[in-house]
Amino acid sequence: MKYMNSPYKVNDFSIHVGTVNGSGSQSSNNILMRSIFRMGVPVSGKNLFPSNIQGLPTWFTIRVNRDGWSARRVKTEILVCMNDATYVDDVKALEPESIVIHHDHMNVSALRKDVISISVPFSKIIAEACPDPRLRKLAVNMVYVGVLADLLKITDEAIELAMEQQFKSKHKVLELNRAAIKAGRDFVKANYADLKFPYKIEALNKTDGKILIEGNAACALGAVFSGCTFVSWYPITPSTSLIDYFSDYAEKYRIDPQNGLKTFAVVQAEDEMAAIGMVMGASWMGARSMTATSGPGLSLMAEFTGFGYFAEVPAVIFDVQRVGPSTGLPTRTAQSDLLFAAFLSHGDTKNIIILPGTVDECFSMTADAFDLAERFQTPVFVLSDLDLGMNFWMSDPFPYIDRPLDRGKILTDADTEGLAKFERYGDPDGDGIPFRTLPGIKDRRGVFFTRGSGHNTKAAYTEKGPDYVQAMDRLKKKFETARNHVPKPLKSGSGTNEIGIIAFGSSHDAVRESIHFLKADAGLDVDYLRIRAFPFHEDILNFIKSHNRIFVVDQNRDAQMLSLLKLEPALASEISKMESILHYDGFPIDAPKISEAILKSLKERKAA
């Protein structure tokens, strides 16, 4: 296949940088990525990092692609070796004719004769460019930015813009880094002037007006701009930055100008049980409340999720998924919490799940999640993952959401008529959604006791069978109502093809790319549907019914999305035509993996 042989040497390649965690390489990698972006060339950045603060290996991969493909790409054309501990393995993994930029003490030529070695005396260069020895360790990473900038023809202007964005107006820092970059450029000019470097950045206009952002930042912005007022959380990778971003943006944009006080509260809890407990309490008081966590934290939230479901308390719970079970691989990505989140809690429980697949959706669907949580008075999960949440994705700027906030069915003292008929757990509208009141109400007809134990329609304690059945059946009805209120799936393709692909979440970009090349390289047309929420919208059921073969892309071992689909009674007769494409090694899924799986399956079917 064409894309596997990388026909383009201009604006289509990947740079893989191996450094040491905590060495300051994050800034240099950001500047490298953003300078390419500033030249109008689409990029995406993926951070592969260890569960460690300082000292262990870390890698950053920048995919440059003029067509905007931004999913993970396995192949690397340019490798930068800054880490003595990993360079041998990194070099060995390269394809022939790859470029290796490395410390001069690393004997790359001895390892591989078939790669192009660019040996750089980094230590010597930085010693000359940076007079303060204490800063050399940080600034040395900027030298490879200079080397690459010169080799790839990245302009000084683009580098300068990226640096200003990174360091704002810290003049000393800017000066130091400028000097390091210049030293890198000068080294290339002096020593590799004759080298015919096969890769090049050429200015394009494909990033005009675009932004580059991590999903966690997008979710945080979504929460700040949709009126979230209460956050409680316990730090856990990879969800921590979501709350950090929330705090940063809220501190800037959510201060009451009248008195300088915060129109929000962020409480760092003692554990995830307390985090979700605080969310329950704040939400019961009427605050728009959220928490963010990942796998192990989600396990701890099971008890209160069941409470929220049964006592009908709104909550938005972000689960930025990582590899489980148990501690698992804390800094690797997966989509393996889907089934757990869907039914989280003991007893019969079904939870609404929102599945953003792009950073744009991380923003807009966070607003949806808050509206749905309050409309349906139940915990709503937003399932992101490490790849979407912590890596950089290109996007159009997010459109402002100015629709009214949906605070759901709340009765106040002004609603005397409603209060006269108030039953906390009734179903006056026939949609399974009751009315609630908030603490502070004067009218005693509106006062009730919130409990996780059995309750009748008036919220009074009961252990009576018929009362319990009535409560559970209404909750089921409410969940059915949600089916057509959650974000609809998105479809592409003519809709008339034999084959349909179903995917969700961060698989989206890899699937898009795969579909493009299945058509371009193998002449195969497929339809695509991306699930964006659970319960499943009827469009999903219709899509499956109207295709002969369905491939479901799941980044987990147990085909969790396929399993969830199989539980739909309406799909009982469709199960045999659905098959899985599974990926679960902790790395994000890539397009060739999907294409190859589909082509292999089709070939096998044909042979049979």
Binding site: V267, A287, E303, L438, T450, R451, G452
Partner: protein, 349 residues
């Protein structure tokens, strides 16, 4: 002026805000007849009535267990939240952060607080969330028919015969250690001591911890138990009450040193509480440690207000949260402008 009917029935006499004591009641208790917890409930009702607090402005919290059922038995005009086991403090924390205007009261038990909920108990004190946290402490798990709790005293025996081999946790000492600004202990039957302590706790601007020894008449009220009526009667010693004055209502403390008091319980049981004379300064935290440690080493059950710091700052104030309940903020206050989003987007280009 009270009506003749009200004069005849104190339950129908309105307080300063025109609410009768009857209106501070809740639904009928389903606890065992004579349970010490029901006495605590009555004192809570009296305290709110006396302090002229409108039930509308009260939030009630509890966890799981016999004690945690009691918020249903007082202040039916207040919203209540019966949380999951041991997690009440987190719920109360969230609620208090979301609404600074409510008066918060929590009732928990020794199992709910000192075992499954120990972490949350510690952290609500550390955050100084404004809340009166009452632990109805009977040293036993009643709902599961009598197991030791973490506050059971070493050497104490269960009804079925086994002896507790482990040290009990003193929740007052722990609260003091954590910097709690209001630490008290009482006995459920001691109306005269309980009422001012509850009022003081409700008036405190932070977490007020009140450990109430409340014997379980069914599973922990027999010879050998250290939390039975008989044991407490013989061992309870009250330290002298100081004239703690809450922010808006003076508390009359009529506490005569060296006298005895007979308290009658709903089930007719009578106990005698002995109050010792002691010159005690409840604003001295070190003194509180001292008297509690001394009492513990002597096997005495010391009751009274051990420590109070009226100048503590609640977490909402420290965290600089708006005074307005968060739900009452306007959409303009909680949704930044279009220009703000444009500014953020520009910074990401």
């Amino acid at each position: 002026m009270a009506t003749p009917e009200a004069r005849a029935n104190p339950m129908l006499t309105p307080n300063k805000i025109g609410i009768t004591k009857k209106e501070y009641q809740g639904s009928a208790s389903t606890l065992c007849t004579g349970c010490g917890h029901d006495s605590v409930t009555l004192h809570i009702i009296s305290a709110f009535y006396d302090l002229d607090i409108d039930p509308q402005n009260v939030a009630k919290f509890s966890g799981i267990g016999c004690s945690s059922k009691t918020p249903a038995y007082f202040l039916s005009g207040s919203h209540g939240f019966n949380a999951v086991h041991g997690r009440m403090p987190s719920v109360a924390t969230g609620a208090a952060m979301a609404n600074r205007k409510m008066v918060n009261i929590a009732v928990s038990g020794d199992g709910d607080t000192a075992s499954i909920g120990m972490g949350q108990f510690i952290h609500i004190i550390r955050r100084n969330i404004p809340l009166l946290y009452i632990i109805e402490n009977n040293g036993v798990y009643g709902l599961t028919k009598g197991q030791f709790s973490a506050t059971s005293d070493k050497g104490s025996a269960l009804k079925k015969g086994s002896t507790n081999l482990l040290e009990g946790i003193d929740l007052c000492l722990l609260a003091l250690e954590l910097g709690c600004g209001y630490v008290a202990r009482s006995f459920s039957g001691d109306a005269k001591q309980m009422l001012p302590l509850i009022k003081g706790g409700l008036s405190h601007r932070g977490t007020a911890v009140m450990d109430v020894i409340s014997p379980c008449i069914t599973f922990n009220n027999h010879e050998g138990s250290t939390k039975s009526y008989k044991f407490v009667k013989d061992h309870d010693q009250a330290i002298q009450e100081i004239g703690f004055v809450p922010s808006y209502t003076p508390i009359d403390v009529d506490y005569e040193d060296g006298t005895s008091k007979v308290v009658e319980f709903p089930n007719g049981a009578k106990i005698t509480l002995k109050k010792i004379e002691r010159d005690y300064d409840a604003t001295d935290r070190n003194a509180a440690f001292k008297v509690l440690h001394e009492a513990k080493s002597k096997g005495e059950l010391l009751t009274g207000l051990f420590y109070v710091d009226p100048n503590t700052r609640p977490f909402q104030e420290v965290a600089q949260i708006v005074e307005t309940p968060l739900v009452q903020l306007t959409v303009e206050q909680i949704r930044p402008s279009k220009a703000a989003l444009a500014e953020v987007m520009e910074s990401l280009k």
